[in-house]
């Protein structure tokens, strides 16, 4: 036997020369990171313990950032297309030439027809800046990726409670005792949910996961509800039914803080039917229980009556709450009557309702914090109702997702658990009701800036963006009768509409960070054709495409001009309060990125390039009266731009003395202060402001003080949404602005001011209305032919396509089998190594399968965006991502199947236009013999950056 002599070990080796603290961008979560440097190179990345988002922890993506900045897929230099579009044949050019080409197109269009330049950004974290640029340019055609991501979640929340999940708010992780998580794959938001679940688990709180797929967060849920896709709204309304029937609703909260007591006009057929009764100042009226009189809802000292009603001049007025009770007490929502459609047993629905009631009301508690509400009424304590909820794309990426998101917020409101201890809490600058948001604008003229911000929240038909003849003003038809409340635009319809010339043709498509010829589009093969299609003159139907990306993505091959962006460690960015900040429920917070390393390639941060283009074009806000540049680059803009006097992109260390919080003159030392503080700024609110924010005087005053808004703006929650009712009234024939006949019935049914549920599945049994009975027969038949739901999820360790070129992450998820539940696995006699042919009404794919038992028995799924096109991302052409990986996108169309009416019906939510990714239904069969590779395959793209090295042994220190 060797008796080992323990070697002398240095247990205190030097860790690094220096730590540079910045903000992660391996996904959209925006954690703080410590970048350890050795000899000027990145040696190791860990979480920043002081950072409000991640408090030191870091996910797999974040730690793998070191493999992103050495990725062989990084673009190196501007590229000009020399072969046919889609071939990937480019020549490298200098930046001056690239910017001259871009300026040439942009200048010509700005002077002649700015609407023919469409500017769409993908997973852009600088939307307040890119939007500002697009507004100065003057095109009405600008949006980011929200329309194909989760606008239903955002809009459903804003119209109901003035905020939504993730960036808008968070569960009270420290006080919740029962947590329900709906339709969250493994992301949005990444680390905070895991940290929160860890806190709940450490306390033994109960977690209920509602998701057809039991992976990730749902795997550790104490109870799993393996719901049928697209039926969450029905399940939620059934819970509401049970709670109402048992009287387990928070009447005091409903009366004080919501529009439940507001009186509704019940004059059938009248032009104000279903609108609020208002006083001469326009304030909604309630009946005061103490006096029996009709008074403005916000009058001091009143007790708004939930049961109020009266008749006047032959018209009846009753409260919102009575209408809601009537609807949801109906047996239509009884657990027995929804169980089969939801795939959830009635007993389970009833028991979960009981648990919600038990925890909200029997485990309620008081925090001894005094506060004053907006009516001036003083409260000695804050009542906690420890039920918290969170939801994301799983419930929203359906054609009924807007109403489902509304239903979920209504459920939370009935329990009195929004903005109370233990419940759901807003993160500043939210709460912010629809009235406090901008209205959408599309007023354009040659050589002029747009007449206002592009995106916003319409409050009625008067805010739609339509020409006098009713034609949509925007290329994506956002804010038209097809999808009136499309608050984030419809990026997924831009290429399809531009190709069809519906509503008009465009000249130049300018995109940033959006892989539209691959995983970010429905009908991927069709989109590739649209991008390469030529007209009768032999010119491309979409004449010019300018694209900016940091990596050799599939979309690069379809651009005429490529502006190479930097990686996230090589750039300036600001995660701004003007945009989608990183605030916590108790604090405002924002952060920056700064170049912790310099690029080793001829690339430039896209935002600085936009500033350069703004100067070349002489855009207002980018040049002064003499035509000289106002900002040198994006870093200069971050410090010196003022959106309102004293309010700019960054809230911290403002003013000459650097002491301003939220307000103050630009401070030339501001970025240095951020860097000294770890790349972020955080400022906490007083304790008495931390809950009841929409109604809490202390919060409202604090929000004004730090510049979130300029005057206190309290409001009540919209159980009943009057803006929806206004669109419905138009559909019923009231008002000057009338929808086209073919949309009238659909609008009447889907713009319901109280949450509804309707089936939604790839146009087979889609939104009610707009369909004849023969259509319905056809759909029933199609539903039988394509009986299986098909979904995607993002893995926690990878995000979209960004992770694929990462040498470490692709070893975790290099393939994406199609997972089948036991029933289908056995029914078709599948075994390991098999392929399945999966067919939707739009096409077929043939892909590898695997068995997954913890799955809704009628649902199949796969990981999103693992599949890659050969030649992209600097991967070998025989990489498993290209040979075995696949996309479901090929069998999801951006349009519904034709209905014989000659119209193009979008596969989107009829309220918001959100892409209905998860409405996909398919049939499945065993592929015998199996193909060598997943199908379809496309010709390899010529890589503009070559291939990566064979092996890696990455150690930067000696």
């Amino acid at each position: 036997m060797n008796k080992p002599v323990q070697p002398m070990l240095d247990t205190s080796p030097r860790v690094s020369d220096e730590i540079r603290q910045t903000t992660c961008y391996m996904c959209a979560c925006r954690c703080g990171i410590n970048v350890h440097m050795k000899s000027g190179k990145v040696a190791y990345i860990e979480g920043n313990r002081n950072h409000p988002v991640n408090q030191g922890v870091l996910c797999a993506k974040g730690s793998a950032g070191i493999m992103q900045i050495n990725a062989p897929s990084r673009l190196k230099k501007p590229l000009k297309r020399v072969g046919p579009r889609g071939s990937g044949a480019f020549e490298e050019i200098e930046w001056d030439e690239a910017l001259e080409i871009a300026t040439g197109h942009l200048k010509r269009l700005r002077d002649e027809a700015p609407e023919k330049m469409a500017f769409f950004t993908g997973r852009d974290q600088s939307q307040s800046f890119t939007g500002f640029w697009a507004q100065a340019y003057g095109t009405p055609n600008y949006a980011a990726h929200g329309g194909f991501c989760s606008v239903n979640m955002a809009a459903g929340g804003i119209y109901t409670i003035g905020g939504a999940f993730w960036e808008f708010g968070q569960p009270d992780w420290d006080r919740a005792k029962l947590f329900m998580i709906f339709g969250v794959a493994e992301d949005h938001d990444s680390n905070p949910i895991k940290m929160g679940l860890g806190k709940l688990k450490a306390r033994g709180a109960k977690v209920i996961g509602v998701n057809p797929i039991r992976s990730g967060y749902n795997a550790i849920a104490d109870e799993w509800v393996g719901i049928t896709p697209g039926t969450d709204g029905l399940f939620i309304l059934s819970l509401a039914h049970e709670l109402l029937k048992a009287g387990k609703v928070d009447l005091d909260y409903l009366a004080r803080f919501t529009n439940a007591p507001v009186l509704l006009n019940e004059d059938p057929g009248g032009p104000e039917h279903g609108l609020f009764l208002r006083d001469k100042d326009g304030k909604p009226l309630v009946i005061d229980r103490k006096t029996g009189k009709q008074v403005a809802f916000d009058k001091k000292g009143i007790q708004p009556d939930l049961a109020g009603h009266f008749r006047k001049a032959g018209k009846t007025y009753r409260t919102v709450f009575q209408h809601m009770a009537e609807r949801y007490l109906s047996d239509d929502y009884a657990p027995e009557n929804v169980a089969e459609r939801c795939g959830v047993p009635a007993e389970q629905i009833r028991r979960i309702a009981a648990e919600l009631a038990h925890v909200a009301f029997e485990e309620a508690f008081e925090l001894p914090i005094e506060w004053t509400d907006f009516r001036g009424d003083k409260h000695k304590t804050m009542t906690g109702r420890p039920v918290a909820m969170h939801a994301m794309r799983g419930i929203s990426a359906h054609a009924n997702g807007f109403q489902t998101a509304r239903a979920l917020h209504v459920l939370q409101i009935l329990l009195g658990t929004v903005e109370v201890p233990g419940g759901f809490r807003f993160k500043p600058p939210y709460p912010k009701p629809p009235e406090a948001h901008p209205k959408p604008h599309a007023g354009h003229a040659p050589g002029k800036p747009l007449d206002g911000p592009h995106l916003g929240y319409p409050l009625g038909p008067e805010h739609l963006l339509l020409d006098d003849d009713g034609t949509p003003k925007r290329i994506d038809k956002a804010f038209s009768w097809e999808n009136p409340m499309s608050a984030h635009g419809l990026m997924h319809m831009v290429i399809s509409n531009a190709h069809a010339g519906d509503p008009y043709k465009i000249d130049t498509l300018f995109m940033f960070m959006a892989n539209m010829s691959w995983n970010s589009s429905m009908n991927t093969e069709g989109v590739m054709k649209m991008l390469t299609d030529k007209d009768e003159n032999g010119d491309y139907v979409i004449p010019n495409i300018i694209y900016s990306d940091a990596y050799a993505s599939e979309m690069v091959a379809y651009a005429d001009l490529v502006l190479p962006d930097t990686t996230y460690l090589e750039r300036h960015d600001c995660i701004s309060l003007l945009d989608r900040p990183i605030c916590e429920a108790d604090a405002i917070a924002d952060s920056i990125r700064w170049p912790v390393i310099e690029p080793d390639r001829d690339v430039r941060g896209f935002q600085s390039v936009l500033i350069d283009l703004g100067v070349r074009l002489g855009l207002p806000g980018f040049v002064d009266e003499d035509g000289k540049a106002i900002y040198k680059d994006y870093a200069d803009y971050m410090v010196n731009h003022q959106r309102r006097p004293g309010v700019g992109p960054l809230a911290g260390w403002r003013g000459k003395d650097g002491k301003g919080v939220g307000r103050g003159e630009p401070n030339p030392k501001q970025l240095e202060r951020y860097i000294e503080n770890g790349g972020f700024f955080v400022h906490h609110m007083p304790e008495e402001a931390a809950y009841y924010k929409p109604w809490n005087k202390a919060y409202q005053d604090w929000a004004v003080e730090v510049g979130l808004f300029d005057a206190p703006s309290p409001y009540v929650f919209n159980l009943y949404s009057e803006p929806l009712r206004k669109f419905q009234l138009a559909a019923e024939g009231h008002g000057d602005r009338q929808p086209p006949e073919h949309l009238r019935e659909r609008l009447r049914e889907t713009m319901d001011p109280m949450p509804i549920w309707y089936p939604s599945a790839d146009g087979l049994s889609s939104a009610p209305g707009g369909a004849s009975s023969s259509d319905n027969d056809e759909r029933a038949q199609a539903s039988e032919e394509f009986p299986v739901h098909a979904l995607t999820q993002r893995p926690m360790a990878m995000y979209h396509s960004w992770g694929t070129q990462n040498a470490w992450l692709r070893q975790l998820h290099g393939k994406n089998p199609l997972y089948l539940p036991t029933k289908l696995w056995e029914q078709h006699g599948f075994k390991d190594g098999d392929f399945a042919r999966v067919t939707s009404p739009h096409g077929s794919i043939t892909v590898p399968v695997a068995h997954h038992a913890a799955l809704n028995s009628n649902t199949i799924w796969t990981w999103n965006a693992i599949g890659k096109r050969k030649g992209a991302w600097a991967l070998a052409e025989d990489a498993p991502e290209a040979t075995k990986g696949f996309l479901l996108n090929h069998i999801i169309h951006e349009l519904m199947p034709p209905r014989g009416d000659g119209l193009r019906w979008a596969n989107s939510d009829p309220v918001t236009g959100q892409a209905a990714w998860f409405d996909l239904k398919v049939k499945i069969e065993r592929a015998d013999p199996p193909p060598e590779e997943s199908q379809p395959q496309f010709p390899p793209i010529k890589s503009p950056v070559g291939r990566g090295p064979k092996n890696l042994a990455w150690k930067v220190g000696k």
Binding site: M1, N2, P4, V5, L9, T11, S12, P13, R14, V15, A43, E46, G56, V57, L58, C59, A60, K61, S63, A64, I66, E186, S190, N191, K194, M195, A202, S215, G216, A219, I220, W224, K245, A246, G247, K248, L251, D252, A255, Q303, A307, A325, R350, A354, E366, D377, K378, A797, W808, R810, Q811, L812, A853, A854, P880, R947, N951, A953, W954, K955
Partner: protein, 259 residues
């Protein structure tokens, strides 16, 4: 053949909570990052951008499905790295003495200078916790971040293994399992912490906390009264509401404010 110490002063190890692990792989990649840059040879990646990428990892997360007799199937995420066994077969099998168990803290390490890359230890380890680095030709395994936990160049709170520091869900705990009063020992006692394959007699130091029971509905009877209907039919709603409102009016409002 290499001898194990007869006893160690401490038994440092990990306690991994399978009730909380969401399977995110954060520990896997953080470990890869730290240990590529630090202890010994870098953890290499073969065919990094090609058809069969495979690299060296000291920690991997596996996912298993469990089908209970009643109720829906469950998914369990199972992170696995060296368990720093008391009777470590990987040490006794080593022909050169390169594998050894430290007397002061029980950490099992490989002295890469003496490792000949024969792979016997990986064969002897019943847990598959060792991987031969194909570029360096030496055996790699979890070091429990021996170059972090005593590292005076790190702030004290960071002197834990990289996987523990990074775990977003807080599912990984580090400490001395030989000390019954340590936090990890208490956690093991409270939550019924278990050895992995105890029948093999390797006496692993690392412990796993089992998942709590899932999908149980045994509290249904207790909860049933909470849903006793107060409204038998929709028309009864107003009467109930009127009565109920009488009891909530004013609520907890300060009398002065309400008047």
């Amino acid at each position: 053949m290499t001898q194990l110490p007869t006893s160690t002063e401490r038994s440092l190890g990990l306690v991994i909570d399978l009730d909380t692990c969401v399977g995110c792989h954060a520990c896997v990649i953080s470990c890869k990052g730290w240990n590529t840059e630090n202890y010994g040879a870098p953890l290499s990646d073969i065919d990094a951008y090609g058809a069969n990428p495979h690299g060296t990892f000291l920690n991997r997360v596996h996912a298993y499905e469990v089908q209970p007799e009643t109720g829906p199937a469950q998914t369990v995420h199972f992170p696995k790295s060296c368990l720093h066994c008391e009777d470590a077969p990987c040490v006794t099998v080593c022909p050169t003495g390169a594998s050894y168990k430290r007397v002061e803290d029980g950490i099992v390490l490989v002295n890469e200078d003496d490792c000949i890359g024969c792979g016997l230890c990986a064969w002897a380890c019943p847990y598959g916790a060792r991987e031969l680095d194909q570029l360096a030709g030496v055996m790699k395994k979890c070091t429990l971040c021996v170059d972090r936990i005593y590292n005076e160049n790190l702030p004290e709170e960071d002197r834990v293994p990289s996987c523990v520091r990074t775990c977003p869900a807080g599912a990984r705990h580090f400490g001395d399992l030989a000390d019954p009063d340590s936090d990890v020992s208490k956690l093991v006692a409270e939550r019924g912490g278990m050895d992995l394959m105890p029948e093999l007699g390797t006496k692993p130091v690392n412990k796993y906390l089992p998942p709590r029971p899932r999908d149980r509905d045994d509290n249904i009877d207790i909860l049933a009264p909470f849903l006793d209907p107060v409204i038998e039919e929709p028309t009864g709603f107003l009467g109930w509401l009127d009565k109920a409102l009488g009891t909530v009016s004013g609520g907890k409002t300060d009398k002065k404010g309400a008047s």
